[in-house]
């Protein structure tokens, strides 16, 4: 019984020209997402490499370690081919030559405002927007269409349990949609190595989970389409219902979540914090001004020694100021981070009401492009800055940052430095185990949504009038 019904579902879909045409269009779009992603990644890679090269040329012109303006760059990630997440909004360059906070600059959207308007056409967009719409188009009349057509009453004049029918409907439609889609995705994945994008084992694991999340998300919309078509009498009404549901789930709830979370949790503006820090710095400097102006060298004969004494006092004062500032800034940063964490948590909690938001969060985390990326990059830059600073102090015997005065006495004794001695910066990407709990949670939510749609379909159809 089940297999007869299941085969019928497969055949009715596969024999229909409407289905074949829609599916062909969908496949082309999926492959296009891969192609666009590959192109974007290659561009990003070129940009990254030329940025590095240019930086190197600039560095080579330095003659003093004190003058070295070291920068670190965030390398593009091959997984951003499929899921760009926040990666386009994150500044990709951090200059280490500052006594204040590190700032990441030059985001891709900052460079290319056209991209910022249309956002990215990646696999995440494909799964969350395009495929879900197709899922609705394929299923909005799955059951009530059969009733309108009149085949349902002939079918149920036989000893067919309703649950068997709806189960066969769901599994049949899912098979007819997901298997071919999986083939298309595999072809897309095959394009990655063909076009020279090298992926390691961890990347493939992440990719597999991204595809799994995508398919779970897709199957939820397929199942909810069948559920609504089983509960709502007319197919035009079920299409409308599903369209409204789709708009809310895909667009409204995730955005509303961000808005509501922003309102609910008061997070200080980062500009405000920077201003607060610099005000404090200025205030401290004003306090020290008296000490500086009342400086009296212990003797006045040896100009060089007096100068040294002055510099020593200056650097002592500056060090003290720096300490005070860093205490405050640590406090402010911690406060900011805590509030941000609460806000993100609230947002993602509300967003879990929509499977699309759960999907988006999950795959962004999987693709190294989650909400944490900016912080991860900055803290890795900070860590490197410590290493770099101690390297420079070793070379020069003094701290980096602040003002440097260099007296050049004659052109003949120009020093040169070998910049290849500078420790190399590498951005260490975490392995998939580090996002395990987040991803498991996201996949769990998607599974729950699937089960929910399944139950709605089964329970809803058990009660409907099949005439």
């Amino acid at each position: 019984m089940f297999s007869t019904l299941y085969q019928k579902e497969l055949k009715t879909l596969l024999y229909s020209t409407q289905f074949v045409i829609s599916f062909a269009i969908m496949s082309i779009l999926v492959l296009m997402a891969f192609a666009v992603g590959i192109q974007n990644y290659r561009n990003a890679r070129t940009q990254y490499e030329s940025g590095l090269a240019e930086h190197k040329t600039q560095m080579e012109q330095n003659r003093y370690w004190q003058m070295v303006d070291q920068k670190v760059f965030l390398p593009p990630d091959p997984l951003s081919v499929l899921v760009s997440g926040v990666s386009n909004d994150v500044g990709r360059k951090v200059s280490l030559r500052t006594s204040g906070d590190l700032v990441a600059e030059d985001s891709r959207y900052g460079d290319n405002t056209l991209l910022a308007i249309f956002r990215s056409f990646d696999l995440e967009f494909m799964f969350s927007v395009i495929l879900t719409l197709f899922a609705i188009v394929f299923t909005y009349n799955a059951v009530n269409g059969e009733r309108e057509q009149g085949t349902l009453s002939l079918l149920f004049s036989n000893s067919v349990p309703r649950t068997t029918y709806i189960l066969a409907k769901m599994t049949g439609v899912l098979t007819a949609l997901i298997l071919p889609l999986l083939v298309v995705i595999l072809v897309g994945l095959l394009l990655l190595p063909i076009f020279g994008i090298s992926l390691n084992g961890d990347d493939w694991e992440r990719l597999g989970l991204i595809i799994l999340a995508g398919l779970l998300h897709f199957s939820f919309f397929v199942l909810i389409g069948i559920a609504v078509s089983a509960v709502v009498r007319s197919s035009s009404a079920s299409f409308l219902t599903l369209l409204v549901f789709w708009i809310f789930s895909v667009f409204i709830v995730p955005r509303a979540a961000v808005l509501i979370a922003g309102r609910a949790v008061d997070v200080p503006n980062s500009d405000e914090i920077t201003a607060q820090k610099s005000r404090y710095r200025i205030q401290l400097f004003e306090e020290d001004r008296d000490k500086m102006s009342s400086f009296q060298p212990s003797q006045t004969k040896d100009m060089q020694a007096a100068m040294g004494e002055f510099q020593k006092m200056m650097s002592g004062l500056s060090e003290e100021r720096q300490k005070k500032v860093s205490v405050l800034s640590q406090k402010l940063d911690e406060n900011l981070m805590n509030r941000e964490r609460v806000r993100d948590k609230v947002a993602s909690m509300i967003a879990q009401l929509s499977p699309t938001a759960a999907f988006t969060f999950t795959v962004a985390d999987l693709a190294h492009a989650g909400l944490g990326l900016p912080k991860t990059f900055l803290s890795s830059a900070k860590e490197y800055k410590n290493l770099f600073d101690s390297f420079i102090s070793e070379k020069t015997g003094s701290k980096t940052g602040g003002m440097v005065m260099i007296f050049e006495t004659s052109d003949s004794e120009r020093p040169t430095i070998d910049i290849s001695e500078i420790p190399v910066y590498t951005f260490q990407r975490s392995n998939v185990g580090s996002v395990f709990s987040k991803v498991a949670f996201g996949l769990g939510i998607l599974t729950v949504f699937n089960a929910l749609a399944f139950v709605i379909a089964a329970v809803g159809f058990a009660k409907t009038d099949i005439r």
Binding site: T4, G150, L154, F156, P161, R467
Partner: protein
């Protein structure tokens, strides 16, 4: 007339919809083995409602419909094993051919042993021309679909057959063939309950004729009793009563 227990039986069968529309009012009828029972009645008289109750498409408000000893609303899945159904407008899957549709619906009906030849034979028997057997249903006329529906009912091979205005849409020749077919099925021992507006044919082939009016069975006569009677004037007589009531 009946020596064994009836195959199809309605006992005090009543269906009231919301807002107190009584579609069927205390119906009692029975159809035995090898018997054709025709239900006549104007539009909205309750004929389709009766069929729907026998198929458990709707639940009775009171009373019961019984198929082969099984109360339909108590054990619908079991009851439906014993009954085949042809609706007034048979609808099949447009993407499938006639033979594919037959294959699907007979499998759903629990018969998996039929071969391609069986399907073709039964299609010929109901009068569907050979060239249409392997054509997609989407291009079929109403009469052709009706024939497929009858073929499916024959293949299901159940003790009871329900037919809701089966001849609507059949041309006169096909109608004649259909009457012959029904007679054959009766002779095989099937219990046949048919609703129809075709008074002439009803009188010709039925063993029992019932006339419904506003959900009530207002007349029931056996073929013998009808022999000397003019069924058409009887029918109009009962319909006139109906007209007066609504006027």
């Amino acid at each position: 007339m009946q020596t064994t227990s009836p195959v199809l039986e309605a006992i005090n069968l009543t269906k009231t919809y919301d807002y107190h529309v009584t579609a069927l009012d205390n119906l009692n009828l029975s159809v035995g083995r090898g018997e054709i029972y025709s239900l006549l009645g104007g539009n909205g008289a309750g004929k389709t409602t009766t069929m729907n109750l026998f198929l458990n498409f709707i639940e009775p408000s009171s009373g019961k419909a019984i198929v082969n000893g099984v109360v339909t609303h108590e054990e619908p899945i079991k009851a439906k094993q014993y009954v085949a159904f042809v609706s007034e407008n048979v609808q099949l899957y447009g993407q499938f051919t006639a033979v594919q549709n037959l294959d699907f619906f007979t499998r759903i009906g629990g018969n998996t042993h039929y071969t391609q030849r069986d399907y073709e034979q039964v299609l010929l028997r109901v009068g569907l021309q050979k060239e249409a057997h392997h054509r997609k249903l989407s291009g079929f006329s109403k009469g052709m679909r009706q024939k497929c529906g009858i073929a499916i009912a024959i293949l299901k091979n159940t003790p009871a057959i329900l037919l809701d205005e089966p001849t609507s849409g059949l041309d006169p020749k096909a109608g004649n063939e259909f009457s012959r077919l029904l007679a054959e099925l009766r002779d095989e021992g099937k219990a046949i309950l048919m609703s129809t507006h075709d008074i002439f044919r009803a009188k010709e082939i039925s063993d029992t004729v019932g006339i419904m009016n506003q959900g009530k069975l207002v007349m029931q006569k056996s073929a013998e009793e009808l022999k000397g009677e003019n069924l058409e004037s009887l029918y109009l007589h009962f319909m006139a009563g109906y007209m007066e009531e609504t006027a």
